[in-house]
């Protein structure tokens, strides 16, 4: 029983990380119609940038929590700006050619990942801002993982507010529905494209900084989580933000539940099979309207 609760709790915490990743992917897909294969590389870049910021602040300030907060804001800002720049220089010129664009994002993945590998070989460790554990049913669970889930939820709420309550959100929804019409009514569509891509990869960076204390920070860290986010996006329904959150919860809780009976690797595979089954039942995704 303790083990069941433990695995469910752990799955619940990871669900929010995957949800953050999937939201970023989905946002970009909804507006730009791009499957961003480099999304995992931006996640990694967020974690690495966070590590760099923490290293730089080490001598400056003794308040580690404050430093971590700065890294949590600074790294996504940096990655977001980089995303804006890359959208403008690399993706803009080949806009409208889906296959070519996806290949370009794959090229970005190779360049970013191997660039980090060259500049910062090996693995970095990031200390959690809060140490210690909480006793649940005789097993200790690290406090930071609670914080991680909470902060992820907070960022998702911010995103929701941004998309629902601001002019950017309004314009973004207009572009999502009909880019040509949006342009005709005077919405700066190119800017919306750039900002959306920047925002999407910044979300990956947030996930990167948040998970840095519980995973090894290294160039290839984004590879596995990318595919989990992929399946979450498509099972939730391409372009559907709520669907992504729900699918992330299903995937990660299923992983936790299956871990009770089998080894975690096999549990991961079973959870993916379950997602495939959901896709068979609803090919357009849980909350998807229709195919792309």
């Amino acid at each position: 029983m303790e083990l069941v609760l433990f695995q469910l709790l752990n799955g619940f915490v990871w669900a929010w990380v995957v949800a953050l990743m999937a939201l970023g992917l989905n946002l970009v897909y909804g507006v730009l119609r791009i499957i961003n294969v480099a999304h995992g590389a931006f996640y990694m870049l967020g974690a690495v940038a966070g590590w760099v910021i923490l290293e730089q602040l080490q001598g400056v300030s003794d308040m580690y929590i404050l430093n971590f907060a700065l890294a949590l804001l600074g790294a996504p800002l940096f990655v977001g700006l980089l995303g804006l720049l890359l959208e403008w220089t690399v993706l803009r010129p080949i806009e409208g050619q889906p296959v070519i664009t996806i290949i370009a994002t794959f090229a970005l993945l190779l360049i970013l990942q191997q660039g980090v590998q060259l500049l910062l070989p090996g693995t970095q460790q990031v200390a959690p801002p809060v140490a210690g554990g909480v006793e649940i049913f005789r097993l200790r669970y690290p406090v930071y993982r609670w914080v991680l889930a909470g902060l992820s939820g907070l960022f998702i709420t911010f995103l929701w507010l941004l998309l629902q309550k601001t002019r950017f959100g309004l314009w973004s929804r207009a572009v999502r529905q009909d880019p040509e019409l949006a342009l005709a009514v005077g919405i700066p569509v190119p800017w919306i494209f750039g900002l959306t891509f920047g925002l999407g990869v910044a979300l990956a960076a947030v996930a990167g900084v948040l998970t840095a204390p519980i995973v090894p920070v290294e160039a290839s860290m984004g590879m596995d989580i990318l595919l989990d986010s992929f399946i979450v996006v498509i099972v939730g329904g391409l372009g559907s933000l709520q669907g992504a959150v729900i699918a992330a919860l299903i995937l990660q809780l299923a992983k936790g539940v299956f871990t009770i009976w089998t080894a975690p690797v096999a549990a991961h595979a079973l959870a993916l099979l379950l997602m495939g089954l959901l896709l068979l039942i609803r090919p357009q995704g849980l909350l998807g309207t229709d195919a792309d």
């Binding site: 794959f106 191997q114 060259l118 595919l227 495939g276």
Partner: protein, 320 residues
């Protein structure tokens, strides 16, 4: 489309040159050429779905991996001889492609990418979780191919006659694929790629066509995997990783998508390039690949073959 006799003749010449390669190259170089043939076959199979049908798959590593494990396990457990082991690999990979294809081709253009990528993860995890069968990250070690031609026997370090076997199989596969894309089926596939609604209007069952291309391509990829397992003497679960599929994408795109020679050419160039790089460039190789991809995506979507063709036309223009 009629079959061009000049092209067939050129194929014969290249094939003959490749056949005398064992006399010209040292065993190490021969082993590299062998890998180019195998991975080139994989890239050709990939292009059947990517270039000819217009579907970007990130899951072809699954069929390569299944082909490899099917052949290797058959060889290790039953020692049935080469042909049966190869057939076991092709059957396993081809069947899996036919089944997965049912779901994948229905999931739309963007969905297809994701579904195929996730199948790669799924099979990777399954292979990892069955370590006693697959050997996990460490993999399985096989003995040399039981093949001997006039006292010349195949080895794990020096491929010897195994090279000739692969050359013959790859050559035959090339001719088969060539006949396939020249046949009405090939034309129909390209029609689907260029304009799916119109293809439907013309009465083509586009879903079935895509599924057929996917299954055939999976079978060919499995053949490449089976050849790899039997000649390389070592396979591991890393073969299932989606990045292996991405390699095929890179080679195909670089050589020229929508052709059969292009993927082969791209594979060869990348292998020889990687051989030539050393030191810092060895580590930087993926960056180089990434930059090349960006350039191709932006300026030369037809790849190396496109460039060669362009050059050829310019030259002919001058000589006129």
């Amino acid at each position: 489309m009629p079959i061009d006799m000049r092209k067939l003749f050129a194929f014969g010449v290249v094939f003959a040159l490749m056949a005398i390669a064992p006399g010209l190259l040292n065993p190490y170089q021969l082993s590299i050429l062998l890998k180019i043939l195998i991975w080139g076959l994989f890239a050709m199979s990939y292009d059947l779905v990517f270039g000819y049908t217009g579907l970007l798959s990130l899951g072809h590593s699954v069929y390569f991996g299944l082909g490899a494990y099917g052949a290797a396990l058959m060889m290790l457990q039953m020692h049935p001889g080469i042909a049966i082991s190869l057939a076991a690999g092709v059957l396993l990979g081809g069947l899996a492609a036919a089944l997965i294809g049912l779901l994948a081709v229905r999931s739309g253009g963007h969905g297809f990418i994701i579904v195929t990528a996730v199948t790669a993860l799924l099979f990777y995890l399954l292979a990892q979780s069955q370590r006693n069968v697959t050997g996990g990250d460490d993999g399985l070690t096989l003995g040399p191919l039981p093949l001997q031609i006039a006292g010349w026997s195949a080895g794990c370090a020096d491929p010897g006659p195994a090279y000739l076997l692969v050359l013959v199989v790859a050559g035959l596969s090339f001719l088969l694929l060539y006949a396939l894309v020249r046949a009405p089926l090939g034309l129909a596939l390209r029609c689907v790629r260029e304009n799916e609604p119109r293809a439907q209007a013309l009465g083509y069952d586009t879903i079935t066509l895509k599924w057929l291309a996917f299954a055939l391509s999976g079978g060919a990829a499995a053949l490449a995997g089976a050849l790899y397992a039997l000649t390389n003497c070592h396979i591991s679960t890393a073969l299932f990783h989606w990045l292996v599929s991405a390699d095929a994408l890179i080679w195909t795109l670089f050589g020229g998508m929508g052709t059969l020679v292009g993927p082969l050419l791209g594979t060869g160039v990348f292998f020889i390039l990687r051989e030539g790089l050393s030191g810092i460039w060895q580590v930087g190789y993926p960056i180089l690949v990434g930059l090349t991809l960006l350039l191709i995506a932006r300026f030369f979507p037809q790849g190396l073959l496109g460039i060669i063709k362009g050059l050829g036309q310019t030259l002919r223009g001058f000589s006129r």
